[in-house]
Each structure stands twice: as C-alpha cells, then as structure tokens.
C-alpha cells in the first residue's frame, strides 16, 4: 500500500500487457467547444438503456410529459428509470430499432417535442454534504444514472457497497481514437465533475481518489489540476497514451499495479471505477436535480463537414445529429439503397458497431457517432472480407491487454469448441479489438470472439432450460405414478366396499323387514312349491318369466329346484321378521302410501327379476355350450343383481316413508292446514313414483354393469395406461 502511494505521488505508474497505438484522430473535434443543438422533432427512448432489466411504464400514449419527468419506474434494483429529456406528448409506445449491433427492435417511448422545454418542479440542493448516504443513493437511482463509459452498469449499485474502499478511480482515459466527449466535458465542466467526485467520496469514503487521464488531453489535465489543487485526496494521474488504457481492469493495473482476478470484480480488491461523465451526471442529479437526460456525444469523421462535440438529449435519432453536422453525402443513408451506404458507426472505430438505420436513438451509453469517409476508413465501406489464413505471427498475443491467446481462441471459436474457449478464458476478453487491429491477415478476431461469447451464453441458457425441463419431466413422472397408485388403491377400496355392501345387503336382505321383498318371496316360493308338486316336465318358473325356459332341459330343471328351495328358506325367514316394520306404521295415510309403494315396487322387482332370470337364461345357454365356469359366474352375477334389487327396493321404501313422516308432523302442527298436508302428500307420492322410475332405470344399468363386471378391470387399467 505504502509503495503504491509513493509510486503514485512520484507519477511512476505500472504498465498493462500489450496495447496498441492507433492514430488518435482526436484533433477533428478536440479544439471545438461543446455545441448545443436545436431540439429534434421527435425523441425515441428505449425502455432499456443499460445492463439489467427495464422498468415498468409510467406513462400512456397521449400523456403530456414535462422535462425530467420519470417515464418508467422499477422495484427491481437492477432496473434504471428513464426520464423525459424535454417536454412534449407521448405519441407512441412501440417497438423500434435500438442502438444494438443486431439492429433489432425493442420497446421505445416516442415523444413529440412541444419545443417549450418546460421543466417539472425541481428541488435544487445547495449543500449535498448535508444529505445522508441513503438519500444520495436514492437520488442517483431515481435519476436513472448508469455507467456512461460504455457498459451501462447501474451506478447506484456500484456506489452502494459495504466493503472498505481503498481506491476510487475516475476513468478519464478516453483511449479510443476519435472520441473526445469526456475530454471536452472535463475542459468545460471540471467543477461539476469534481463535485460529482466529492459526492462519490462522501458515499464510498475511499482512502485515495485517482483520476486516470491520458497525456493527449493537456487542456483537460490543466482544468482538472486547477479544480483539484485544494483537495489533497484527489490526485490527477497523467498516463501515457495507449489503447486500451480506459479498460477498467487495465486502468486499475496501471494506477495501482493490482490485477483483478479472472471473474472477479474490482470491488473485491477494494477498488471502484467510475467514468468522468458519470461523475458529471451524479453532480447534476444530486445538486441540480437533473436526471440523466442528456450527454455529450462526439460527432466525428471526415464524412461530416462540421464534426463537433454536442450536448444531445437522450432519445435523439442519429439522423437529426447527422443533419446538424452536415453529413457529407448530402443524401442521407436511407435514400440511397443501391449505392453502397456510407457507414455510420456508433461508438469508437475499434469497439463500435455499424448502425443499420439512422432512426437509432442516442442512449445513455453512446458516446460517439463516427461517419468516416472512404479514404479514412476503407474497410468500413468494403463489405467483403479480406481475411486470409492465420500466419501464426503471434502479434495478437503480444497486444492482448488481457494476456489471452487470440489465435488459439480464434481456432477454437471457428471449431465452436466451447469447452476449450472457456478454458482459454474467453470471458476475460474485453472486446477491445487490439488483436484484430494488428492482425496482418486481417482476421476480424474480435468478431469471432463476440460470436463465440454469445453462443456460449446461449448454450448456458439452453443448459439451464434443459435442466429445468428434466426436473419438470421427472416431477411429472413421479406425480403420474403417485396418481396411478392412488387410483389403484381407490379402485381396490371401492371394490372392497362394493363387496362389503353386497354381503351386507344379502345378509340384510335375509333378515330385512321389507314387506315387499317378503311378499315377493312368498309368492315366488308358493309358485315354486306348486311347480315342484307338478310333474318334472313342467317349468318351475312363474308365467312372467322368459318363455325360452319353458323348453328347458332337465339340467335347468334341477337347478331351478335348488333355487326354489333356497327361495323358500328365504321366504320363511322373511315371513318371520315380517311383522316388526308393519307394527311401526301407525297412521293410516302412511299405510296407504306403503301400499302404493308396494305396488310400484312389486312391479319393479318383477322387472328386475325378469332381467335376472333372462341373464340366468343366457348364462345357462352358454353353459350348454360347454362352459360350466361361465355358468357359475353368471349365476353369481344374477344373484348380485337380485340382491341389489332387493336392497334398493328396501331403501326406497324407507326414504319416502321418512319424507311423508315429516309431512305428517307438519300437518299436525299446522292443525287446520289439512289442504296443505294433502298437497304435500300428493307431492310426496309423485316423488316416490318418479323415484321408483329412476330406480328402475338404475337397476337396469346395474344389471348391465354386473354382467360386464369382468371387463371393467381391463378397461380401467387401459385408461390408466393411456
């Protein structure tokens, strides 16, 4: 630590590996002051102008907005709001081309400028030293400040850190050719910048503040030295010009000799780096309550007749800027499709990208619009690549500021060997383009790396997605299996319950007090008994039974005899218990009802009988064909059906009874309401009838079910497997 300070005070700095010295071309614009431009007619504000997430919209189409009014807000800390750069009316919120090499469209707010430039009420802070840290951070966050050096990292996150800060480094290197925006800003606004640095000092309380500036900006150096002469903590470090000194890790290396590890952030070594333009924006926001709505942009290149630095409102389309600076080929790039379009580059010549549409708006991170002439930058006009094979000269490795192996990377990138690329630390590449600049084979090395980086990121996303899909698939499989087991158990339980109720019913049916069943059984028993006394040739079944049986064989006769015996036994038992329920019945009305019900039930029971008998018949016929087991099964089924019919009949009788009982009670309490009672009785009767009908249907269904019971388990298992 001591030695670092000593070296800094002696202005002996370290060196980073590699680097290049491209022609600076800064004189085009460095001598001229920053110009104010007339307001454009329309502003296009992309919702997202930084790394992170976009905020939620606060305005609607047709809203009138004032200068400085927030247009988005967010609860997410990584989201940064945007503000109206001037007053006007929101004319549209739609997708539009944004400043991105892909030329893709993103959601943008269109503001029709009303040329009044009316501010929203501002709260100017005279003395920022009285503000608390949280207040300052909130102001910075609300003002939508994101790193203006290029990456656009939300500033309020960078300055809201817990660990102790040794060095606050202000990046004023501006190492890329052509760009002089920060240079001019330092010359003209050095006081404001120093105010911004003081605010950062208050927030971070670093041990030292170092302003790193390249020696090709003598005016800016003088201005800064003048502004900081009373502040001991701040030292202006004049560095030799070399590209890319302005890289975050490179600047740290030069100033402190420390190297930030691969994958680590400077904050882990107690260092925070901020751009000068960001410092200016911070002072504007905290002191003047001006959110980030404008920035200095260098408009340069020999294709412009009046290259100059200008104050640009965010959202100004590039076409407006080109108009104002006299774009040489008087025809704008839009109207000349057949001729090779004069290229317009956003950003510097080494790290910038061609913009495909001059409606692209200026955003928080755009610092330069470069319109080169053909003699100045022939490669920008020539779309065909002059790339030849790598001759393994190794110059790229010599200039790489991240000490990577560019040619190895290139081969792996061409082979799409992502593993090898990661092994070669591709993600430490800062896209500076020094390798491509020195390559004698004109291989666009940095482009290969950009592609590879995007591919690897995409692959990582796919991997995450496939992992998620796998988890979901397995969870689903588990769930289905559980469901299946649960269903099987339910089936088993239901079957068991069915069996239990069946047994119960037959048992009950034996001892049941159903007068209907008893009467039925009695009749049947009598008939059977009488039949038995007749000759064997005659049939033991009642006349209502299916005539097919009339021609039945001896075999069936024998069986029917056994049946008859069983029925007789049952009838006897029923007859025994017969009296009890009848005794319970007291009212004459109820008795009537019972009689009616009995009739209905008799009918029904008969029908049921018929059906059971017919099924019996069927099974018998089958048995004649030779299958005795089938016969047995059919019999069981028939028995089951019979038992069910009985149980149903019993149940039904009970239900209407209770209903009518209730009615009875009502009738007695009402006393005089005889009429009502009668109506109620009639209703109950009708209901009973309707129920009887329904039951009949149900019984038919049940019979069918009983006869196809063997099939059911198959079916259900089929359904499950589906």
């Amino acid at each position: 630590m001591e030695s670092i300070i000593e070296r800094i005070s002696q202005h002996k700095f370290w060196q980073f590996h590699g680097g290049i010295h491209p022609p600076e071309q800064k004189l085009l614009t460095s001598g001229k002051p920053i110009r104010q431009l007339p307001l454009p007619k329309q502003l296009i504000l992309p919702l997202q102008q930084h790394i992170g997430r976009q905020g939620d919209l606060l305005v609607e189409v047709g809203d009138k907005v004032l200068k400085g009014q927030p247009l988005t807000q967010s609860s997410n800390p990584m989201a940064v709001p945007i503000h109206a750069p001037t007053s006007g009316i929101v004319s549209a919120i739609k997708k539009s081309v944004i400043a991105h090499p892909s030329g893709l469209s993103e959601l943008c707010i269109f503001i029709d400028v009303d040329f009044e430039d009316a501010w929203q009420p501002r709260d100017i802070c005279q003395d920022f030293t009285k503000l608390s840290q949280q207040q300052i951070i909130k102001k910075i966050a609300d003002s939508g400040i994101a790193g203006m050096g290029g990456a656009g990292f939300p500033t309020h996150i960078k300055v809201n850190t817990k660990p102790e800060i040794n060095f606050l480094i202000i990046n004023a290197a501006e190492c890329e050719p052509y760009i002089t925006a920060d240079d001019l800003l330092m010359c003209e606004q050095s006081e404001a910048i120093i105010d911004g640095i003081k605010i950062l000092d208050q927030l971070l309380n670093p041990a030292f503040i170092l302003i790193g500036i390249e020696d090709n900006k003598p005016k800016a150096i003088k201005a800064l030295q003048h502004a900081t002469k009373d502040i001991e903590k701040i030292s202006v470090c004049v560095l030799p010009t070399k590209y890319p000194t302005g890289g975050e890790k490179q600047l740290i290396k030069i100033l402190t000799g420390k190297e930030v590890k691969s994958g680590a952030l400077p904050i882990h070594s107690g260092i925070v780096v901020q751009n000068v333009a960001t410092c200016f924006a911070i002072s504007d926001a905290v002191i003047n309550d001006i959110p980030l709505i404008r920035r200095v942009v260098t408009l340069t290149g020999q294709a412009l007749s009046k290259p100059q630095n200008v104050w640009v409102l965010l959202g100004t389309p590039v076409s407006h800027l080109l108009e104002q600076t006299g774009f040489a080929s008087e025809i704008s790039p839009v109207s000349t499709p057949p001729v090779s379009n004069p290229p317009v580059i956003m950003g510097g010549p080494l790290m910038g990208f061609n913009i495909l549409n001059d409606l692209v708006p200026i955003v928080k991170t755009s610092n330069c619009i470069l319109a080169p002439s053909k003699t100045e930058m022939p490669s920008a006009f020539d779309n065909s690549s002059n790339e030849v094979e790598c001759i393994r000269c190794g110059q790229c490795a010599e200039v790489c500021p991240s000490q990577l192996l560019p040619q190895e990377l290139q081969w792996s990138a061409k082979a799409k060997d992502h593993q090898q690329l990661t092994k070669l630390n591709l993600f430490d590449c800062i896209d500076c383009g020094a390798c491509a600049y020195v390559c004698p084979s004109q291989i666009p090395l940095v482009q290969y790396y950009r592609v590879a980086k995007a591919e690897i990121r995409q692959q990582q996303q796919l991997d995450i997605k496939s992992e998620k899909a796998k988890v979901r698939f397995e969870a689903r499989k588990l769930r289905l299996e559980k469901d299946k087991i649960a269903r099987e158990e339910k089936h088993k339980k239901a079957a068991a319950a069915r069996k239990a109720t069946m047994n119960k019913k037959t048992a009950e049916g034996g001892s049941a007090s159903s007068a209907v069943a008893a009467a039925l059984a009695r009749v049947k028993a009598k008939k059977k008994a009488s039949d038995r006394t007749k000759s064997n040739d005659e049939l033991p079944v009642s006349s209502s039974e299916v005539p097919e049986k009339m021609s039945g064989s001896e075999e069936s006769d024998e069986k029917s005899q056994v049946k008859a015996a069983i029925a007789r036994a049952k009838a006897k038992r029923l007859a025994k218990n017969n009296g009890t329920p009848e005794k319970k019945v007291t009212s004459s009305e109820e008795q009537k009802k019972i009689d009616e019900l009995q009739v209905a039930h008799n009918e029904k029971a008969n029908i049921a009988k018929e059906q059971t008998v017919s099924s019996k018949e069927k099974s018998k016929q089958e048995s004649k064909q030779g299958n005795s087991t089938d016969d047995k099964k059919a019999k069981i089924a028939a028995a089951v059906a019979k038992a069910k019919a009985k149980a149903k009949a019993k149940k039904e009788k009970k239900e209407p009874l209770s209903a009518s009982n209730k009615e009875e009670i009502k009738a007695t309490t009402a006393g005089t309401d005889n009429k009502k009672a009668r109506i109620a009785a009639a209703v109950a009767k009708a209901k009973a009838k309707a129920k009887a009908k329904k039951e009949q249907k149900k019984q038919e269904d049940l019979l069918q079910v009983a006869s196809s019971e063997e099939k059911i388990p198959f079916k259900s298992s089929n359904e499950e497997s589906e």
């Binding site: 944004i98 991105h100 090499p101 892909s102 030329g103 893709l104 993103e106 790039p333 839009v334 499709p337 379009n341 061609n354 495909l356 549409n357 001059d358 779309n383 065909s384 690549s385 666009p444 482009q447 290969y448 950009r450 592609v451 995007a454 591919e455 995409q458 996303q461 796919l462 997605k465 496939s466 992992e467 998620k468 899909a469 796998k470 979901r472 698939f473 397995e474 969870a475 689903r476 499989k477």
Partner: protein
Amino acid sequence: MNILIAILVLGLIAALFGAILGYASVRFHVEGDPIVEQLDALLPQTQCGQCGYPGCKPYAQAVANGEAINKCAPGGEDTIKKIADLLGVDVEPLDENHELNSSLGNGPTVAFIIEEDCIGCTKCIQACPVDAILGAAKQMHTILIDECTGCDLCVAPCPVDCIEMRPIPETIQNWQWDLNKIAVKQVD
C-alpha cells in the same frame, strides 16, 4: 530351489494384488450406471419422444444398452457428436426417420395456443411432458413459454387444431452474431 522361491514370490505378489483389487472393487463400488446419467446430460431434455422412447432418460438407457445414437432429432448433429465422443463410437448422420420435417426450419420453437379456438379439453395438458400448459377442463389453456421445450407433442392431440408451433422471437437477449449476415445486411 530358486524356481520354487520365484514361484512363491510371484504367487504372493499375485495374491496381494488380487486382494487389493478385490478390496477396491468392494470399497469403490459404483451404484447404478453412470454412463446413463452422462448420456442423459447430453440429451436436450425436450422429452419429445421422437426417438421412440418415452423421454430422454429412457433413450439414454437404451443407448447405453446398444441402441442407435442417431435418433435424437431435437439434439441434432451436435448431440450425436457428443454421444459418439462419450461412447467412443463413430458419428452417424441423423436417422432419416427422425429428421425434423418442420416447415419452420431448425430454429427453436414453442407451442402456441390460439386461445379463442381452445375448447378446454385438457388433452394437450395430458400430453405435455414438462407440465408447460396451464388450464383446466372447459377453461382456456395457455402455454408457459419459458417452460415449453418445443417438443410438438401437444399439437396432435388437440381436437380443434388450435395449437401451433411458433419460432421463438429474436430479442437482444437471445440474438446471435452472424458475421455473414451482417456483411450483406443493407440499411433499410
């Protein structure tokens, strides 16, 4: 005598190593078949069943048991290459029967339910291997784009043909540099 000693020494050494190997085989016994897990990790996990197996894991199991490695259509040649590398076999071209015959090209797609046509039959929900369809009986269904693997399995069961496969829209987040494309792209 010398011969006897030699035999004895060699025999002892053999016994010693045998004991070590025997111990190691017990001590470092590997449960399950790690190759299946590795294969499963290479597969795209779309669970689409285009390989003829009900999901990626069953196919991984089958490949481990000697099934052809070229049946994964969503994985394409990359996956075949990786499997070939892992198993040390030759790379085979993608099985013709399993080639994607999608008119949308080979770009990733997601299912999309035309919601006004949906009758809420839940058939697609039952078909989705990753539970990426939200809905209930007689309610409109919709696809969770982030969970959809683009496996296509929900398209066939739909009785009203209201599901279609759509390419994933290109955004800044998933945009891929294409050097050739940039070179020929003209300003609008």
